[in-house]
């Protein structure tokens, strides 16, 4: 985990942290529509616009579908364009989310994770972002407000890299991070400006000397090849990300990677998860280590493209792997578990595996729940084809 210098840090919510990352990026265009718990990001940003702190053209449009459409239009002209959303807002964007990725537009979008309706629920789970996992966007999940801030900035550079040119979602847990106050160390504005650099325009719509068209009819003649290029761009994102993370480390002193190992060196049992729950898992790891149990954690920062090689490297040969998912895939295995299990098919020594779904609709996850899952692993009570639940009444 990256240490934060409390003397330099400010106590802010995740929303304020992300809004400040957006202020420093200073996109040319922001289009957004209010949805809980994303709203404070847009409110902070609207104030920056009104105060003349940024020169962004901002428009609060009439729906999320319009927000993503406006951002796609702006990005196609070569502008830096951003939006932010949650849950049903993201679901309403869905068809345009695919257009953004297939048009290879480097849009960065904070997604404040919230359960998808119905019934309506405004609290955190990952069902919103998971519904977009195959849309062709890079996906990061933040554990803390600091990470939400850092990943927003870092994502822009990754998205705009010439060999990548893909949109990026930065997921931060609704309310837990978006409305929770934590110390965050901000980079100086000029450092961010220099880090992200000037936008590289590739095939901009407004270059009248070299006219282009976006999204024309693409049938069985070329569509397949274009999809193949998207697959390649995701592979390139894996190659480019370590370089971007290294450059970010140089300016910030904070390290990012595909995954983050925690007390893994001698760990026999490892828990894998996304987002803010990792902090609770680390607490439980410390607690159980004091009692002599060889447990550890592996946080997944980047979920798309899925870091298969890193998962294999860290989990090969462990006795047991427990995967926590904050979303379900009805009729199939939970998304993170499915991906981790699939990655471990080819390792030399496959661990025992167990799938635990938790926290749907904001249900609290307690250290005791996490300990229970670890204890299942320690007692050899993991069944790879069984889905279990933490904190559920049955």
């Amino acid at each position: 985990m990256n240490n934060i210098d409390l003397k330099k840090a400010r106590a802010v919510t995740g929303a304020e942290a992300v809004a400040n990352a957006m202020r420093q990026i200073e996109p040319h265009v922001v289009a957004a529509y209010p949805i809980t718990p994303q709203t404070p990001i847009v409110e902070y940003f609207a104030k920056f616009v009104s105060d003349g702190v940024v020169r962004t053209e901002m428009i609060p449009v009439e729906s999320e579908h319009s927000a993503m459409s406006a951002v796609v239009g702006a990005a196609a002209t070569g502008a830096r364009a951003m939006t932010a959303t949650s849950a049903n807002g993201l679901a309403l964007m869905h068809e345009v989310v695919y257009i953004a990725a297939s048009s290879r537009l480097p849009i960065v979008m904070p997604v404040v994770n919230r359960a998808l309706s119905g019934p309506i629920n405004i609290h955190c789970d990952h069902s919103d972002a998971m519904a977009e996992r195959d849309s062709g966007w890079v996906q990061f999940y933040a554990e803390s407000n600091q990470e939400a801030y850092d990943l927003t900035i870092l994502s822009l550079k990754l998205a705009e890299d010439e060999s990548v040119r893909l949109p990026v979602m930065v997921s931060l847990d609704g309310f837990i991070l978006s409305h929770g106050v934590e110390p965050v160390e901000f980079l100086p504005d000029e450092v961010v400006k220099e880090f992200i650099g000037e936008p590289k325009m590739i095939y901009p719509l407004l270059d009248t000397e070299h006219p282009v068209t976006y999204g024309p009819l693409d049938l069985y003649d070329y569509y397949f090849e274009h999809k193949r290029q998207q697959v390649e761009a995701m592979e390139n994102a894996k190659k480019v990300f370590p370089k971007v993370a290294e450059e970010f480390y140089k300016v910030s002193g904070r390290k990012y990677d595909f995954v983050e190992p925690y007390k893994l060196d001698d760990a026999e049992y490892v828990m894998v998860a996304l987002g803010s729950t990792n902090s609770t898992i680390k607490y439980v790891v410390d607690w159980m280590r004091e009692e002599g149990f060889k447990v550890g954690a592996l946080k997944v920062w980047m979920f798309r493209p899925f870091p298969k090689a890193q998962i294999q490297k860290y989990l090969n040969g462990r006795k047991g792997v427990v995967v926590l998912d904050r979303s379900a895939s009805f009729g199939a295995e939970a998304p993170l578990y499915e991906a981790v299990k699939s990655a471990l098919y080819n390792v030399a020594i496959r661990p025992q595996m167990g799938s635990y779904v938790y926290g749907l609709g904001g249900r609290d996850i307690l250290p005791e729940h996490i300990r229970k899952a670890f204890e299942d692993a320690l007692s050899g009570n993991l069944i790879a084809d069984e889905q279990r639940y933490l904190g559920l009444r049955e």
Binding site: P34, I35, T39, E43, A46, P60, S63, N88, L92
Partner: protein, 274 residues
Amino acid sequence: MKTKQLLKYLRIDRWPTVWCPGCGNGIILKAFLEAVDQLKLKKDRVAVVSGIGCSSRATGYLDFNTMHTLHGRAISFATGVKLARPEFKVIVMGGDGDLASIGGNHFIHACRRNIDLTVIVFNNMIYGMTGGQYSPTTPEEEMASTAPYGHIERPFDIAKLALSSGATYVARSTVYHYNLLVKYIKDAIEHRGISVVDVITNCHTYYGRYNGMPQPYQMMEYFKNNSVTIEKARDMSEEELEEKIVIGVFRREEGKPCYLDRYEEIRKKAMKGR
């Protein structure tokens, strides 16, 4: 009317409501119940459909057939309900953000189609639930969390939007004019075809606080002092009408075939001789 008499239409176990003390939504809800009571409608023959927002939470508190659906989509769901159960009185409740912005398309097309729904717009001129962002009915120059120095867009006039889209019953009241409100909702439910009641209501928590009327009574006074009847408005100039709320019945066109009537006609035509 005694409020107690209306309790049978409510799911009291779902109380307290999510609404702020002094919110106008409760007044609209009561006016609706009073209209239902006067019309002696059977609870099981009424369906209330809402979208997302403060006002849309009403369906949780009402003891009819109710659906709490997606943001902006209440009219679409209600259209399905009406087609499947044409004998039902189908009421749509929603806010200005819900019905005129994200769901604006469904609103104009329901008006055009003249389907037999009653749409009650809880028009507080702001997005209340998400924290006071400006909505499609926020007047120009007014403040909102997304317009900290004043709003620069022109608002929709919900009644005019409904009129020009072809709605056959259109009325407007404010929550201050309670008796009118009951009457309009009652007439709207009785009307065959699309009926729209635009109800100007108070979100003092956001709209009022941003615009110098942080107390509910201040907004009530504003509605009282700035409303003019449609009859009176006809003799007033555009300048005189600026910042005024025109209340009254804008259109009541009875006897015009609604979508269901036309549907029945075409069905009979298609089935002729079979």
